[in-house]
Symmetry: C2
Subunit: 407 residues, 2 copies
């Protein structure tokens, strides 16, 4: 009898009725012959409520105490889900992260899983008991609660699936799968039947919110099949899996957009070796992640450098850039926040020519100006003015016929 | 430098402002030269909110899951209090019951403390850190959360004070001490400066809500001085301590009342040996606690038996009594719920004659009929019609001059 890990997010356990619906779904999977391990998030809104309380007490609460506080959110969910399972006649026991054997490093609020001791969970499974495990949390070597960062419950589920050699990990959320584009922008968007780990990773990084990137990396590393499904409707969802030959038949799997972008430009920078290292070393030291970097062709020994960061980091990055002006012999640093990044993702790009050209043409046909471009093996991203975001996503979806391709 | 354990109840940590006030008070005790260990309850209303959630999921939630759920209430408090302490410049760390080394038996929702491993707490104290420990909770030998029953945070505090050989245990609550009577009933009621463990125990059992009886038993057993104080006002509170010679100078320490009473009477019971055993064995088997029992003098081989139970158990006890009628050869069983118990408590009774007579006279002078009487070495209780409760408490307070005696 195979093990299936089912993870339910905050909206899926957001009320008593929904918790009861989770219990029914778990019980059904058991009746279908699976051993089920359940991973749950805090009830929707609970983590934010707890963070608000912390912020009322302190502008800079210590990370250890934030983790101790946030851990309670998932603990409420596991107890209630275990009770609901009993109500439908299914033996169940709640497990905190520590009880579930989820050992992490000591990096509070951003801990990484080091090891999972599955003894207690396996005992429960062997006894016919459904373990209901708190997502997002673990225990440090110092015996303190840790948390895995936003979206960490996905990671808990995938890591447990790997540790328990589960047949698959099912992620239940409020959408019924991964889409070729955000259906709110593109009514013709289609649910993908399958997507490769690498494509899912790129889409997660590029703005698709359905799965946390770290959990996809983990699934890829341990080859855990992940299924993204809705907890509110029936349907087979989207299977995230290792790439298969015929996936490449389709050039583009999906289109994503990300408005959380800001662009900083330094003009008339002295075009000397070491200039970029100086600037970006300073920015990295402030823990700001730089996404794209573009340096224009030099004119008379002077060049422009542009780079993008997330909007929340924009002001700080601008300050750092301004402080570097003298060092760099640059004229000025300017900030542009009305930009967005649209991207196309697909393993098929590797074997199809002219994909970039088709993307640029589609945008040009709508007079959408491309401000920056960045590419990898399986994705092409363009920065554009953010007012064109929806339009750009729609025309790209159209250009690559994503409404028609069965994937 | 002596250790002081300070316990703050739910209303004392009921809001962010109150949590900040707790931090200020703790910091002051440190500046006065004490090593402080803080024990906190869940924020006021939180435990009830969690229990409501559980009841919405299940009419009969499993005790293990109830404990896992309730444990989160105190965990929120400890994290917030530790943050608030940092804000006032005081190093602090939160400890769940398990982290605080509070080992219990496996009796979920009513666990008993078996042992306290103080290693982590002593490390914290040695490092100048204030441990903030979750009250009411511990860990079973099976590594599960347990809870100690209502009022269990008092017990946590007293047990920690004993284990850490603290100078004293301060219980901060919403009243400024133990009173000679409920001030809502008796405006002239006085705060007691001192009270013996046994008196406090009787008063707790007889209706005074200020301290949980089990924590007083524990304090007596390990000779921990307990101070009951208000967290909202200044004042020296009431010291609960071992009896001292001069305490007996005062006959009565306090007057209590308890309306949670119901009386069941069986009439015309055959007056044979073994009758009482049969009846009360049956009631005990249903886990119903019987308080007073009175059997009237026999008339012609027939007698009446009356006993009292708490009102919540009354209907079930009546049913059981009715089922026993045939066995007992009794005529009928009747239930009376409009009754209350008023009691006087004081170690001085042991060395003063005529206390009971003075009590009965005081009630008789107001035409208050006594339905049942029960006595112990240091208390006398009378059951009366409940409409006379306040009046009875006031006349007893007067009769023993509790508004005048300095204690």
């Amino acid at each position: 009898m195979g093990v299936v890990v089912q993870k339910y997010g905050g909206t899926s356990v957001g009320s008593i009725e929904r918790i009861q619906a989770v219990a029914v779904r778990v019980q059904r999977a058991r009746q279908e012959g699976h051993q089920v391990v359940v991973v749950v998030s805090a009830m929707a809104g609970e983590t934010d409520r707890l963070l608000r309380l912390a912020r009322e007490v302190s502008a800079t609460p210590q990370a250890r105490e934030v983790d101790a506080l946030l851990a309670t959110g998932e603990m409420v969910s596991i107890a209630l889900v275990a009770m609901a399972l009993h109500e439908v006649g299914c033996q169940a026991e709640s497990f905190t992260g520590p009880q579930g054997g989820i050992l992490t490093d000591n990096a509070h609020t951003q801990a990484r899983i080091k090891h999972i001791t599955t003894t207690r969970l396996q005992h429960a499974l062997a006894a016919g008991v459904v373990p209901v495990v708190a997502g997002f949390q673990g225990i440090s070597s110092g015996d303190d609660f840790t948390t895995l960062g936003r979206g960490g419950s996905d990671l808990t589920a995938v890591a447990l699936a790997a540790a328990l050699h589960a047949d698959r990990c099912e992620i239940y959320t409020d959408v019924d799968g991964v889409y070729s584009a955000d259906p709110n922008m593109v009514p013709a968007a289609r649910r993908l039947v399958r997507i490769s780990y690498d494509e899912m990773l790129e889409m997660a990084r590029l703005g698709a919110k359905v799965l946390q990137a770290r959990s996809v990396e983990f699934a890829k590393k341990y080859d855990v099949p992940v299924v993204v499904k809705s907890s509110f409707t029936e349907g087979s969802g989207t299977l995230v899996t290792r790439p298969e030959q015929d996936m490449e038949r389709v050039v583009v799997a999906g289109v994503t957009s990300d408005r959380n972008q800001a662009k900083i430009t330094l003009t008339r920078v002295a075009d000397r070796p070491g200039i970029a290292a100086k600037l970006f070393g300073r920015i990295a030291a402030a823990d700001i992640v730089v996404d794209m970097i573009i340096q224009n062709a030099s004119e008379g020994g002077l060049t422009d450098i542009s780079f993008t960061v997330s909007r929340s980091d924009a002001q700080q990055a601008l300050e750092l850039a301004r402080q570097s002006l003298a060092d760099l012999g640059a004229e000025e640093a300017t900030l542009q926040t009305n930009i967005a990044k649209v991207s196309i993702v697909g393993v098929g790009m590797q074997s199809h020519a002219g994909v970039a050209a088709r993307m640029f043409e589609a945008l040009a046909a709508e007079m959408i100006n491309i401000l920056m471009i960045s590419t990898s093996e399986i994705k092409i991203s363009c920065v554009i003015e953010d007012k064109y975001t929806e339009l750009a996503v729609r025309v790209l979806h159209d250009a690559f016929q994503l409404d028609r391709e069965e994937r």
